[in-house]
Point group: none
Chain length 221, copies 2
């Protein structure tokens, strides 16, 4: 974890760095707004601690510029105690959290950890298997990068195959999964779906293992 502490008071800056380092961060410090903006924009930090009172450029402006530039690093701002307008302003500008000064280092560390934990909890929605890419968020399918329109049923079938791309799936298993136990269908319904999919994806993508079931392209027999 790499952190940036933007703080003009050298003593506080040192304390910040020490506390964050003790918490497992690799912390760099910076005392000037202009430089902070440059660093935040060019370097890849996991967390930025930003003091609002700064020489060079106002902390709030720095924050707004980062957000405007598409920087999504979690930012924790330090504000003067009691000025709730400033906090609200900071949050509106895109801060993820604030801490009123003076504060306990324990609290800073707790919040910093929580912030990083939270920002890390996304991604992984793209499932790839051979030439196929499934976006499980948008429910879309791409073949060699080219989007392919599929229906709900087709998507469900593909998703199941992709999820179990390392083995052969028996027709009965697919039937069980695609249709509830209460509205079971015949095998032919499945074959129809597969035929339609093959027409869209090309013949080779879904392979038939005669007598066993179906598998995605590239699985060795």
């Amino acid at each position: 974890m790499r952190a940036l502490a933007v703080e003009d008071d050298p003593r506080i800056a040192a304390d910040l760095a020490a506390a964050l380092d003790a918490a497992g961060f690799r912390t760099e410090t910076c005392a000037d707004g202009q430089e902070a903006w440059f660093l935040g924009d060019t370097e890849a930090y996991d967390l930025i601690v930003l003091d609002l009172g700064l020489p060079g450029m106002d902390g709030l402006s720095v924050l707004k510029r980062w957000r405007a530039a598409g920087c999504e690093t979690p930012v924790l701002i330090l504000t003067a105690r009691g000025s709730w307008q400033e906090r609200v302003e900071g949050i509106e500008a895109g801060a993820d959290d604030y801490l009123p000064k003076p504060f306990r280092m324990e609290e800073l560390v707790a919040r910093a950890r929580a912030l990083v934990r939270r920002s890390a909890g996304r991604g992984g929605a793209l499932q790839e298997a051979g030439p196929l890419t499934l976006d499980t968020n948008r429910m879309t399918v791409a073949l060699r990068g080219v989007p392919v329109a599929v229906t709900a049923q087709e998507y469900r079938l593909l998703a199941y195959l992709v999820l179990h791309r390392d083995r052969v799936i028996a027709p009965t298993e697919l039937l069980e999964h695609l249709y509830g136990d209460d509205d079971a269908r015949e095998v032919n319904a499945l074959e129809a779906v597969i035929a339609r999919l093959r027409r869209k994806l090309g013949a080779g993508v879904i392979e038939t293992r005669r007598g066993f079931g179906y598998a995605l392209e590239g699985l060795t027999p």
Copy 2:
């Protein structure tokens, strides 16, 4: 956006609900820890405001149980002023933010909004998605820069779609978040709102993914 306010003082609870409702939330209240735990565990909220001093079950225990049960709803806790141990404890227990009592309703609302945005991994108060711009402070909508007048319900629906713009949203999910569990509506109510929105925004902005749900104008067909 659906919110739960857990607060035993009925006056404060009413104030909370009023402020959050004015900010575009559908707020339910609850005065008891046990009940709060049950609600948070079973219902789908976008935000929970939790007072730590509660009858029935201690607020911190409620929070811990939620987290232990895998509930990831952002939680904003209300603490007594000055007790920083309590705050740290709260954050360690999985709270996403805290507010010391007494507080300004403006600040609560600002933090609530920020929390909801952050939980979806997004920054500022201006939410952009394709041709749409939502100002979550003023609760206004613009299409390609041109302001569009929308009703409260329409705004809520759009806000939810914009917040989760990278996903397809199932009708049931929208129903859950637009209406409380106690005044549930039929799917058709939703379709009516969407039809009215499309008349204002044009046909392409809200896409229908037949069999899955709705999504904002995206890249893939």
